[in-house]
Structure formats: structure tokens, C-alpha cells
Symmetry: C2
Subunit: 190 residues, 2 copies
């Protein structure tokens, strides 16, 4: 059994917690302040991008050796017209640079919370796209996702987080313009 720690209790954190619980894994939800240590093998940073730097600063040592999952979409939420990370990089790349002793994965940023709960969108099974440079860590997270009844696909190296964040960005811009609903999005049809 893999223990999954989730930092953040918003709609994404709750949806990811539900998947891990459904798969029989132990889930620990901790607040953003660092007073409660994280004990999980996998730690999901279920917080908005601007909150990640503070978590790194406060919990960097705690996260060493762990699989750390970045779910953020680093949009400029004032303009909804650009990302706030370097165009050739990604929030996940930044996180990996900041946590060199952790196994950083990008995942869940292309899924809206409702489609994680529903396990489908438009009749297509929900798929979590996972990017990362550590094959074992990716497999570990994919196992947790699949045990919870949701599909998981290895999207490649952590450098593919640039593309996953572009997908997340595009999807959010379409949703805020009401061209798709929060129960929809981009579904991966195999």
C-alpha cells in the first residue's frame, strides 16, 4: 500500500484523495502550513502555482526522497493570455530544480476535478497524463490512479510538462469562455 499525502484541500485535492482512497491507499490531507509533517511516499501539491514556492521553502527537506506531484497550471490569471513560467520550461521543471532530491512528476493538471470524480467525460474514461524522469515514480502514481478506477498514461519525460501545461492552459481558457464545461475538457481517446 502506498501512502499518499495531499497538501491542499481544494476541489482538486479532494478529487485526488477520493481516487487514492477508492484504490485502498492511505490518504493524509495536510494544510499548507508546515506544522504537520508529510509522511506519504507520494506527496501531491494540490495547491495553486503561486503557493508552490512557499511549500518548497518550508517543506523542502521533508520532501527529499519522495515522489512529489505538481498539478498546477501556471497561468497569468489576470489576463488568461499567457503562462507565468518560461516558455521553454514548466512549473514542474521549476519544481524539479528546487527539489533535486525528490522525484518530481507532472500529473492531474489536464483533468478538471469533476472528471476525476465522474471517472469519465463525454462517455470516455478519464485519463491522467503523467510526465516525469523517474520511471518507478511514474509507475507508482499510475498504479494509485488505476486502482482508484481512473486511467493513467505515461506522457513521457518531465520535459513534456511544457506540453501538459499548454494543454491545461488551453483547456482553462476554453472553460472560462464557456466553450466547454467543467465536467468536460480534453478526453484521451485511445
Amino acid at each position: 500500500m502506498t501512502t499518499v499525502s495531499i497538501i491542499g484541500n481544494g476541489n482538486m485535492g479532494q478529487a485526488i484523495a477520493a481516487i487514492a482512497t477508492a484504490g485502498g491507499h492511505e490518504v493524509e490531507i495536510v494544510g499548507r502550513d508546515a506544522s504537520q509533517p508529510v509522511t506519504g511516499d507520494i506527496v501531491v501539491l494540490a495547491v495553486p502555482y503561486p503557493a508552490v514556492a512557499g511549500i518548497v521553502a518550508e517543506r523542502g527537506a521533508q520532501l527529499a526522497g519522495k515522489t512529489v506531484v505538481d498539478i498546477t497550471n501556471p497561468l497569468d490569471f489576470q489576463t488568461f493570455d499567457s503562462l507565468v513560467v518560461a516558455p521553454d520550461a514548466s512549473a514542474a521543471h521549476e519544481l524539479a530544480e528546487a527539489l533535486p532530491a525528490s522525484k518530481v512528476l507532472k500529473a492531474f493538471n489536464t483533468n478538471f476535478a469533476a472528471t476525476l470524480h465522474a471517472k469519465q467525460l463525454g462517455g470516455t474514461p478519464t485519463t491522467v497524463l503523467i510526465a516525469g524522469d523517474d520511471a518507478d515514480a511514474k509507475q507508482q502514481l499510475a498504479d494509485v490512479v488505476r486502482a482508484g478506477g481512473v486511467q493513467a498514461v505515461d506522457a513521457g519525460a518531465l520535459s513534456r510538462a511544457r506540453e501538459l501545461e499548454a494543454v491545461g492552459f488551453l483547456q482553462l481558457t476554453l472553460a472560462v469562455q464557456e466553450k466547454l464545461g467543467w465536467t468536460g475538457g480534453l478526453a484521451l481517446v485511445a
Copy 2:
């Protein structure tokens, strides 16, 4: 009736021609050499990215005033690990710079040819995502696509071509790794 000229007769060119024909529009398919002029209101460059520069050089003057549709995915097809355009730009952005008198759109690059023919993937209607800075040109192309029985969604300004090309890139890497088939891909669930 809109006349649609398609430069290139590969599987994408044929699929786009079939949509336009199904919608009752006149379609003209011309080869990559410039001996045959293009007469359409919309000109689709249904060629691989490396062929675009030659078309611009030979047909730039012919394309003035027209709606020009870029469908390319500018991957490094040697490595399948990066794009060959600047990370903050796109092939469509390059084309717009090269053809300042044309109305350049990005479209079709997130659709595999089979899903344009089938008009669905995994039971979800196929959607063509269209980005561009000229609202009338986007509407004109969307009308042609919809008349042919395929959905069309305005994905925003031409700057969103960066994200559309990231989607196309990701989708191609998943297909070549056999994580999805050429009859599948990312389906837009409204």
C-alpha cells in the same frame, strides 16, 4: 459559397477536402509547385512544416488578402522530443510574420485525418480548434467545417497556436508510442 484551395494532397489535405466538399463548397487541390495559381478564398497549406517556407517564397503574392490556414505540427521528427520553432512562438506565428497581407489561421493540427473522416472519436464529435487574429476569417473557416459535419471551436487569438501546437506535439508523441491510435486522440468534450 466559399472556395477552398488546398495545397498538398496527403491524408490531411484529402480529409479537409472531403469536409469542404461535404458542406457544398468548391474545392481546388493544387500541388506544391507554384505553376497552378490558387483561386480560393481560404487556402489550406496541407503540407508538412518544412514545406511551408517554399510555398511562402513561391506563392506569397498570390496569398495576399486570403485566409491562409496552417495545419502543421513543427516537430523535430528525428528526436520526437521537441519542436523546431521558438518555444514562445509557433509555426503559425512564423507564417503570419511571413505573410503580413494574409489572414493566417491555425487549425486542424490537433486532428488526425481519420477523425476528420469519421467525424467522431470514441463517440465524441470531432472538433477542429481554430486560432487566429481575424474574427471574420475564423468564422469563415468554422462555417466551412461545420457545414461539412464537423464541430469547430474558436480557440482564441493566433498566439494560442503555441498551445495548439503543444497539443499536436503531445498527441503525436503518444501515437508513435502506441498509447493512442490514429483513429483516436484528444477529443473535446463540451
